[in-house]
Amino acid sequence: MSAPATKPNDRLLWVSLVVLGLVGLSVGKFFRPEPIAEAYVSVTTEVRTLVEEAPTNDGSTPAASAAAAAAAAPATSLASGEAAGQPADNTKTQPAQPKRIWVDADDPAIERQLKEGTLKRVPDVAQAVWDVRTPIDNRATARAQMAALEKEAEKLSAPTDPTGLTKEQFDQREAARMAALKVVEEKRIVSSTRDSLGIWVAALLTLGILSFLVRDNPFYKVVESILIGVSAAYWMLVAFWSTLVPDLFAKLAPDLVRATMLPGLAPSKDPTQDFLLALIPLGLAIMLLWRLMPKGGWIAVWPLAVVIGTFAGMRLTATIEADFMAQIAAAIKPAAAFTAVPPDEAAIAAAQAAGTVASPGRAFDFGGTLAAILGLIGVITVLIYFFFSLEHKGVVGKTARVGVWFLMITFGAAFGLTVMGRMTLLIGRFEFLFGDWLNVAK
């Protein structure tokens, strides 16, 4: 590949940057002698059992939903009556064979259901041991959590003091303690090579982009190429998983999709209609892709026409309602402002005489009025500036000029407001470089 010939002063710049970096790093390490780019994950071990629900008399499968809820969340989701309170029409769906799902064996809700018989264990299927890994983005937090876990375990490992407790009270507490201890022991926090490596990669890529500020260079070109390739693929994947699968494939071949990709997919009320409706976008898409064919590429204009037409229609009403009309309405307000002031003695006396309560007087609010008038002038003059039929000469020209002034103030303000956001972004990246990667800052 052709690396650009770097001019000497550039080489100087490069060297000085690298030297600066190394010096800064070593200084930072002198104060925070902790390893670079360390990442932690918390691992929770769960024992899961395969269960299937016993079919209920009307074929509704509330247990399935309840169990699914339990699999995703702790028991309380069942304890609260809401889980059971599904609208009836949702429970009318009749599955072909009883649904089989893996559930957390230690979940009391599941245990209850196993007792009740709404769920039953699938025979001769061994229990599976699961590791649920959740990355901890902040290393300080990781340490804190580690410490907390140790303290917890320590506390729980001490047996309950039996004094002043009846037998069963004591047993209850002991049981609770053992349960809690089990939970604590199931959770551990370990350092993750995968994520540590990731931090290194991310840091190098970050530096690659920043190097563009010095000049265009091979390092940047490489990073740029990676970014383009990965992001293009990423967006195609997003479209595939979050649109094509649920909104197209799921309609065209629901059973296949449910079997392969979306087991949780709810059965449609009218599969045939969904299928037919899904054919239309499919047809449009094929027309669009027809461009790849040697002949008849013009057909691709038809879907374009649909897209442009529909969204032109949508935008027309939406923008007139939410911007045109709403903004006009917001602009219509009195150009004179008053502030309420307590009624004076005379008024109060008069009111008391009449046996009523004195209404508060009001004072002319100069600032408010001025603001209102300025606001009015602003809106009008800027609108005048936008008039296309009128050449910017004479009175119109002068008014439009005032309009331009308002525009400039508007833009200046927007610019000023933006700086903070932009700086924040850089701060975020620096926090990553200095904190997550080099570990010389919090």
Binding site: A140, T410, A441
Partner: protein, 302 residues
């Protein structure tokens, strides 16, 4: 007639003029220093909440405890640094107030953003909250404002399952939520299109009285959202400044004991901001001085 500039010794003026044409890479270096040094020095400043932050806080306080609120994460990692602080504070606020939270995203990467906040705030400070009952993560849906239009008619029109692939009909929290109108409050934390503006256009204008709308925005968005506050948007948080103020309000009322820094990111980031802003102000001044000097060279300011 000689302009006053002529009194300036030519050497200095030449310097000033050259300053005006300085290689922009020196400016870049200055920015890097202005951000990096105070950050490493951990410079902190107090924050005084302004009207918009207070309005936001009040909006969430005013709705009855246990209301269902919709938080739409309409941003991606590119704006994370700016919007994460307010997202964290808002989730902590809603959870502490006892509201039930529905998370969704109009930006594809918004889901990951929401997940991050759920892990670092909701699950961390509120371990008692149960997924499906106290909160639910609907995830991302393509379609920009189209999704909002769908939600305005019916939830299941837009989402058939939640992010975990669980059917909407099986989620207790959503059992009685028919459309976006059934939320007491909708907050869009947005970095652009689609975002708070689309929520105003397609949800709020469709049913203005149904719910309160809050817009958490980046600085650049704020200017075009300001006209919507407070009539169409009851609350508004602008960039890290707004987040820092809001953080102050939230943590005053609902303080957290361990690792409070997660609800202090905004305030933490205001220190480097100060220096950076001063730098830019200095740059503007320098630029103009050198321009005047240059005019002086060319003989008088026109």
């Amino acid at each position: 007639m000689q302009p006053r500039k002529e009194q300036l010794p030519p050497g200095i003026r030449g310097l000033l003029v050259r300053l005006g044409r300085i290689d922009r890479r020196w400016i870049y270096l200055a920015v890097a220093v202005a951000i990096g040094v105070p950050m490493l020095a951990e410079l902190r400043l107090p924050e005084v909440p302004e009207k918009k932050a207070r309005a936001t806080f009040e909006a969430i306080e005013s709705i009855p405890e246990g209301s269902i609120v919709l938080l739409s994460f309409d941003y991606d990692p590119a704006s994370e640094a700016e919007l994460e602080p307010m997202a964290n504070a808002m989730v902590h606020h809603c959870a502490s107030r006892g509201h039930r939270i529905v998370f969704m995203a109009l930006w594809p990467l918004g889901k990951q953003m929401a997940d991050k906040t759920i892990d670092s705030v909701l699950k961390y400070y509120h371990p008692d909250k149960v997924e499906g009952v106290d909160y639910v993560q609907l995830g991302f849906k393509t379609g920009n404002e189209g999704v909002i239009k769908l939600l305005a008619n019916s939830i299941d029109g837009a989402y058939t399952t939640d992010a975990a692939g669980k059917a909407i009909s099986e989620i207790p929290l959503l059992a009685n939520v028919r459309s976006v109108g059934d939320f007491k409050l909708v907050a869009s934390i947005s970095a652009g299109y689609p975002g708070a503006q689309q929520w105003v256009q397609y949800a709020d204008s469709a049913m203005p009285e149904a719910f309160k709308l809050i817009g958490g925005t980046t600085g650049v968005q704020s200017s075009q959202l300001l006209p919507y506050f407070p009539t169409q948007m009851e609350g508004m948080l602008i960039a890290v400044k707004g987040a820092a103020e809001y953080e102050t309000l939230v943590t005053e009322k609902y303080p957290v004991t361990e690792s409070p820094e997660r609800l202090g990111i905004g305030r933490e980031r205001m220190g480097p901001q100060l220096v950076a802003h001063l730098l830019i102000i200095a740059l503007i001044v320098l630029g103009n001085i050198s321009m005047l000097a240059a005019r002086g060279l060319k003989g008088g300011a026109r």
